[in-house]
Amino acid sequence: VSESASERIAVDPGTNTGMGAAARQHEDPKARLACVYRDNVGFVHRSVRRLGVPDSAVEDVVQDVFLVVARRLDEFEGRADVRTWLFAIAMRVLRHHRRTTWRHLRRKEALAHREAALPKYGEDMESRDASALLMRLLDGLDDERRAVFVLMELEGMSAPEVAEALETNPNTVYTRLRAARKHLAASARELGITKRGAA
């Protein structure tokens, strides 16, 4: 009887270790990878989406990230939060794809994006619309500011953690966050999004 994918992932049920002791204890590299995957796939999935990966490519990028993880898992020393390491990998995978496979796709999606109506903003707005609206605003940020915004505002990481993930210093992180917020607020005004709804 073949195991389902979920059974194969659940190598160590009942624990949520990130890259904690349980994950490191597995001698089988695939079991370790499964541990890291199970605990962090949600984080990687939402991070790549928030970093601007086209919807149609999110799952491929997540796979790429974990394949890089599989190759480099032995090098992870566990001194930092595994999420900062995963995010750094995701950023690099993202840049690689941008330079190669997505050029054409992004142009097409950008065109469709411009033509698509803005989701209506209101008190009763659905989460999906709110998310789409925020992603639309985030598209106006450069990668660095977007990454800081995603990690600090949406993931709740601290400036030192973000600085570590992005290999910069906390002051730069603060500067980027402030610039990102300013830019996003200005974009919201420019797009005519108000409490009463999209213009």
Binding site: A5, A70, T84, W85, L137, A165, E167, A185
Partner: protein, 263 residues
């Protein structure tokens, strides 16, 4: 202005509550990973995050070896073309050019991709120092501070460009960052007493540190989550007065809102 900021806060709140990927998608992706591990298309050839890996050391070593080899070859060639009579080329300049070219020639993404260089971002230190009164040390921040955050095993950069020497100040920043991490760790474990003890330690050891704002924000959160809301709100008000433009403000303002007061 205020309205657009409020909107932003609402969108952020919505997005924070975004659902996890569906179980079917999680399974589908894992199946894809397994398939590719077994001989499918390889992932992009990227470096796996210098802060926590030793992988960069191999790259750095290769760069150095390559730089030395090419520098030697270029030097020997130039000397041969000149008939061996002239002065050999300036050895200290060649590795710079070669090292830079070497990083361009990496197959996919350089481990330094996306890393700030000093002065790259406007006001990355100076502007902040003007806006946020977090002490005189902030003005002095440089990328050497970042280096101090990295594990000891991280290799030094192969750049030949002179870098400012590591100072005791960068050590201090590393200590400060580590202490703050411990505060966050204690809060994550819901060990509020330990968090507040560490906050007091931070206040004592780094009265004008670079992460004073972080410490004061996290102190408010710790006080509120321990039920000391009156003290928490007082600290929050003081925080707002000292850092009116802080990015932590919304977090600090609402820290005590969902807590049952116990004082």
């Amino acid at each position: 202005m205020k309205e657009s900021e409020e909107l932003l806060e609402r969108l952020i709140a919505h997005e924070r509550a975004a659902p996890e990927p569906e179980a079917a998608a999680v399974e589908r992706m894992w199946t894809g990973i397994e398939g590719r591990l077994g001989g499918g298309p390889p992932p992009p050839d990227v470096q796996g995050g210098p802060p926590t890996t030793g992988g960069a050391s191999q790259g750095a070593m290769l760069k150095i070896v390559g730089a030395v080899a090419i520098a030697g070859a270029v030097g020997a060639g130039a000397w041969a073309v000149a008939g061996g009579d002239g002065q050999p080329p300036a050895a200290k300049e060649t590795p710079v050019a070669v090292a830079d070219r070497g990083s361009d020639l990496e197959p996919a993404i350089s481990p330094d991709a996306g890393v700030d260089t000093p002065g790259e971002e406007e006001g990355s230190t100076g502007a902040l120092a003007k806006e946020e009164p977090t002490g005189s040390e902030m003005v002095e921040t440089s990328t050497s501070d970042t280096d101090s955050l990295r594990p000891a095993s991280r290799p030094s950069s192969p750049r030949v460009r002179p870098r400012p020497a590591e100072s005791s100040e960068s050590e201090t920043f590393a200590d400060e960052a580590r202490l703050l991490q411990r505060i966050y760790g204690a809060l994550k474990r819901d060990d509020v007493d330990a968090a507040l003890r560490l906050v007091a330690e931070h206040r004592r050891r780094f009265p004008a540190g670079q992460l004073v704002q972080e410490r004061r924000a996290v102190e408010v959160e710790a006080l509120c989550s321990s039920g000391r809301t009156r003290q928490g709100r007082a600290k929050a008000a003081a925080f707002e007065a000292d850092f009116p433009g802080s990015t932590h403000l919304s977090r600090v303002r609402t820290a005590c809102d969902r807590v049952e007061p116990q004082d």
